[in-house]
Symmetry: C2
Subunit: 251 residues, 2 copies
């Protein structure tokens, strides 16, 4: 199959390279279009006030392009202009989890949403740890998942968010299909004072991992499972259309 890869950690990230190699080793045709430097926590930002630069940036024998933009820019530009024939788009493997409400901030998930908006099967993939990343098990699993995805297919507008525990094959307990959970943070901002007496704030925040809801991605990862969540990008809250109509608003 013809695979387009992107990410938000930048084109030189090891997780992206390992994923590309895993697809190549299984005989698939891989193209990488990824940001030229790290763009994490960019959400679904796109670049409208500057032009985008495209530099050829092959990784071993894998064709690649480094883009001076966000993950969403990369996928949009790739599918519109750079890569004419694509069966599936994967974003990742991200260095760190993308779980629960945090997916709203995720450049990785936005890259996959952008592909889904354009009508392609899409997967956002993350290694759910902030240290000692071992990408090989994840890379192999994602190739297997992509093959299964194209076997079964999903309707347009449905994509997958995958988080994988950072551990040995033996210690992974299995695969759970999950809902997005909640990611609650506390102590969000660290207020400091600069040498001239001015205040500045660092976004900090510790995750509250107590009592994760069952059947959620947060629960699955905490309990050693691979988590796969089907996502959509329809932000309409259909349940409240009638409720709002009953407010009888007028101009």
């Amino acid at each position: 199959m013809k695979v387009l890869l992107s990410n938000d950690d930048g084109i030189n990230a090891l997780g992206l390279y390992k994923l590309a190699m895993a697809f190549k080793e299984r005989g698939h045709d891989v193209t990488i279009v990824a940001p030229d430097s790290e763009r994490s926590a960019t959400g679904h930002a796109i670049t409208v006030h500057h032009p985008l630069r495209v530099l050829e940036h092959n990784l071993d024998e894998i064709k690649g392009f480094a883009i001076s933009g966000t993950p969403a820019d990369c996928v949009k530009l790739a599918l519109d202009t750079l890569v004419t024939d694509v069966d599936i788009v994967l974003a990742g493997i991200n260095r760190g989890p993308n779980l629960g409400t945090d997916v709203l901030y995720s450049g990785t998930v936005s890259a996959a949403i952008e592909a889904s908006l354009d009508g392609y099967p899409a997967v956002a993939a993350s290694l759910a740890s902030f240290e000692k990343h071992q990408y090989d098990i994840s890379a192999d699993f994602l190739v297997y998942l992509a093959e299964k995805y194209l076997e079964h297919s999903l309707p347009q507008g449905t994509l997958l968010n995958v988080n994988i525990p950072n551990t040995t094959l033996e210690k992974i307990k299995g695969v759970k299909i999950t809902k997005l959970g909640e990611r609650k943070y506390y102590n969000n901002f660290d207020k400091r004072t600069d040498p001239r007496g001015g205040a500045y704030y660092w976004l900090a925040g510790k995750v509250d991992e107590s009592n994760p809801q069952p059947e959620t991605d947060v629960w699955a990862i905490l309990n050693g499972f691979i988590s796969i969540t089907p996502l959509h990008f329809d932000l309409t809250n259909h349940h409240f259309l009638q409720v709002l109509a009953d407010w009888k608003l007028k101009i």
Copy 2:
């Protein structure tokens, strides 16, 4: 009521000022926490690699803070640290529409989603035109809507996306409660060559406004109505949990 205002056009944008004044004239207590410069199309980006600067920036007698960050940063920092008592959060009035699938890219909508994530009633407001903006009618309508919102209340996790036609009161045909429509673009990228022969790409794209789906925000605005769409931020596609379980994936 106690109103927190933000936007993505920056703290000096006229739409924000007009909205603040309209609330003040109705006797409400207003605080502005907004980006220090334009941050449109930032999606739900947050700032994690730099600290945020906070500068007092009052507009007439309205208390304001200019933040060196994104709309989501502004709301997160405001509700966590700067403003202790808030009844409702509004983002806008945006200079230009935020309709259909484009809400995924919108800093305005992300500011409102951030407020909703934190448990506050929230409204994203946009003037649906790219020129000759007349904010007064919109500002008055949004004060009325905020008052109605607090009268009725909505459950946590539900927010409103409002688009208002840029026309006279007489020409606005009424208020429609809508679903998000599709925003399809064509000719997305304009490829150019710099003086040294290097290629660069501008995100361009013309909206295809033919055949908007009925009952959508896109349809409402094209037909002269104020559009109000109830939004949520649960990206789980609940319909496909069972479908995916039937794939029987394993590690």
